[in-house]
């Protein structure tokens, strides 16, 4: 018996030692620390691997090029499995490390970022949400610490409508559009925007939800066949996308009249659907392929030195990989913007990083300098506009790769942004937040 107790005692002390070893230690100065609540296992693990692979590769790339005016990037991953509770645990675990010199936090999960919006505001840490998350955070007066950078679901929906309008000679009057969506927070968010656009453009909107995970859509497409819509706009995720494309083929609905959101427009969505996906279109805020000089350079520099993060190098240049790179570009640019104001070659603290994110100005010229022309749109943020761009491209699957159809299309800001402000005001009221006065920010 004594022996057993001894064993238990040893086991627990080892465990305790491991726990305390993992607790925060003093962090080397002059390093910008990115906490990455990432996911590489679980149902969306493949998506996470590409996104975070691209993200980390860019940070490595910047480090190899001498850092941000000499400031090196550091990061630590924590597995969330796309699970909100786990994401919160990761955030709490890494928070103290990020306290001094944080990089923007990227969760790539709407659920986790929703849960973190309040926590990051309380802890004063910058939270970035590129193309997901709480969209009303566009109104920076209520959400000083949250940044839905580049574009949002609502602006994307509006841009898709604009694209369709241009395609139809400038008017959608009398047309019928089906909105097929993943029945979750993600799928529901564009509805208000589509309804508002519908009142303006006089098209008829038919909403058809698909329950998670959406691997059986017979009933929905039966309904679509009866409705005979001119277009189907699809807000799908994961297995729902390929099922929709395949079912559309079975029901004889032309794929070139189907337009997906940017989460329904990656290689993973169309390749499994095979031939059925040919002609299918989607919106995107970053392009695929290695044609962008930056991506090619990352492959040469980082993978050439054997420091790449991706195990499966064939994924380099996919939509999600490039999205990870784009997200990292935005973060690094924000840090450089902050450095330009608060001192070059210094690691930035949370408030300075926040300022950098709020005063981003990535022009076409700057993108060209980075070798990222066409990878992502130009971005200019401000206190009242944490989105900064609202532009997307349309792309079409030709059976083997995504080809861009259009230049950057901007959604109808005057129509959509008031929706965000109304939502943010409601949020502020519920939470008892006093919005800051954006005219006084500098």
């Amino acid at each position: 018996m004594i022996k057993k107790f001894k064993q238990i005692a040893i086991a627990t002390s080892v465990a305790a030692a491991c726990f305390s070893a993992a607790l925060p230690s003093a962090y080397a100065a002059e390093e910008q620390f990115f906490m990455l609540p990432s996911y590489r296992v679980g149902p969306y693990g493949a998506n996470g691997q590409s996104f975070y692979g691209g993200f980390i590769d860019y940070l490595t790339y910047v480090n190899m090029k001498g850092g941000m005016n000499g400031v090196q990037n550091a990061w630590e991953e924590c597995e969330t499995e796309y699970n909100t509770a786990k994401g919160v645990e990761c955030y709490e675990r890494l928070k103290s490390k990020a306290k001094a010199f944080p990089g923007p936090i990227h969760t790539m999960s709407t659920g986790i970022s929703y849960a973190l919006v309040d926590k990051t505001a309380a802890d004063k840490l910058p939270l970035a949400m590129q193309g997901y998350g709480l969209t009303s955070a566009v109104d920076g007066s209520v959400f000083p610490w949250a940044f839905p950078l580049v574009t949002t679901y609502q602006m994307q929906a509006s841009a898709i409508i604009k694209f369709l309008k241009d395609k139809n000679g400038g008017s959608l009057a009398g047309k019928k559009i089906v909105f097929l969506y993943h029945d979750s927070a993600y799928g529901k968010e564009p509805i208000l925007a589509l309804e508002a656009e519908g009142r303006l453009n006089k098209y008829e909107l038919v909403q058809i939800p698909v329950a998670h995970p959406g691997n059986e859509q017979g009933a929905q497409w039966q309904r679509i066949r009866q409705e005979k819509p001119d277009y189907v706009i699809m807000w799908g995720w994961g297995v729902m996308n390929m099922t929709a494309i395949k079912t559309a083929q079975k029901m004889g609905f032309p794929r070139d009249r189907m337009i997906g959101s940017w989460w329904a427009g990656s290689e993973e969505d169309v390749i499994p659907a095979g031939d059925a996906a040919k002609g299918y279109m989607s919106a995107t805020w970053n392009v695929a392929g290695k044609g962008v000089p930056l991506i090619a350079d990352i492959e040469k520099t980082v993978y050439g030195a054997g420091k790449g993060n991706m195990k499966d190098t064939s994924k380099l240049g996919t939509i999600l990989y490039n999205r990870g790179v784009s997200a990292a570009v935005l973060s690094v640019e924000a840090l450089l913007t902050a450095q330009a104001k608060y001192g070059k070659g210094k690691a930035m603290n949370a408030e300075q990083v926040r300022w950098g994110l709020e005063n981003l100005n990535i022009t076409e010229a700057r993108l060209k300098e980075l070798g990222a022309t066409g990878l992502l749109p130009d971005v200019k943020t401000s206190c009242s506009n944490h989105e900064g761009s609202g532009k997307v491209k349309m792309q079409q699957w030709d059976g083997s790769k995504w080809t861009p159809l259009t230049d950057w299309i901007e959604g109808n800001k005057t129509l959509i942004h008031p929706l965000f402000q109304a939502d943010a005001a409601k949020y502020a009221k519920e939470k008892g937040i006093t919005p800051r006065d954006c005219s006084k920010e500098k």
Binding site: A22, S38, V41, C78, E92, S96, A185, K188
Partner: protein, 358 residues
Amino acid sequence: MFYRETGQFKTSYAADQQIFPIRQDRIGIVLLLAFAFLALPLFASNYWFNAILIPFLIFALAALGLNILTGYAGQLSLGSAAFMAVGAYAAYNFQVRVDGMPVLLSFILAGMTAAGVGILFGLPSLRIKGFYLAVATLAAQFFIVWCLTKFPYLSNNSSSGVISVPNVEILGFKFDTPQSRYLLVLTIVSVLALLAKNMVRSTTGRAWMAVRDMDVAAEVIGIRLMRTKLLAFAVSSFYCGVAGALYAFCYLGSVEPDGFSLDLSFKILFMIIVGGVGSILGSFLGAAFILLLPIFLDIALPALSELLGLPFGSATVSHIQLMIFGALIMFFLIVEPHGLARLWQIGKEKLRLWPFPH
């Protein structure tokens, strides 16, 4: 040596029937509570409060609820997460729609709402049993999540269906620090656990156990099946509902219906299976095991692989963590099918004899 009840004479029924008849246990529980209420708030870090202690207590409460239904009354349920969702959304709606509603009252009302829904979905238990009942409660799981997604009214017309809860404030005191939230959760969970412990030792609890062991025999000795089973559903759902409200208000701060998926129900079920079916203590042990072990592995494995110089990427570590976790669950179930609570009991028996094993 230390744990022996020699010399502790019980001279009244009350003394014999108290919750902890052995003096050492009483001292132990007082020390534990003192530690939880006094020492932890002083010494634990925010990480411990936000990421470990608060979720542990909340899931222990949910597991306790399921244990009442499955462990004591013998009705298998796969709808615990859905009842948590009912609690979370009900508490939110009471808070947002009724001006000046006290938070604690809205938690209680949320529990009551969940109890009502629980009774509704407990009705099939009068006709069907075992695995078939599990399937019926599965319907609750899917129906409730669907319902919360379908009707925007329930999420106060939030465009995304996600609710973001207001701050917790009781009698003017704002629960905005992790310590204060922890203490609030701890108080609620302690009170409810004490209630549960007493409930299962009372007539009600004995009726539940009689139904669990053989419902025909229970009926013959005069236990009203319908009332007993539905009461078990109501009490269990009440606990899950309060846990759900705490989950939204004191832990995450914002929840969406999809967060209360079948996965979460399974997780709670695993908690009571690993912890001990039909044991209050088991609910806590199970919650600790299922919740804390992955976190521990997550922290320990990368450190370990670095220490040993193993070339593991973060993806590999995540996979290994899942494997070890699964293997440990199997190990415990093989070594002790009655759960960690039983292991604890055996430990106590042995401790009574120690240091003279024979």
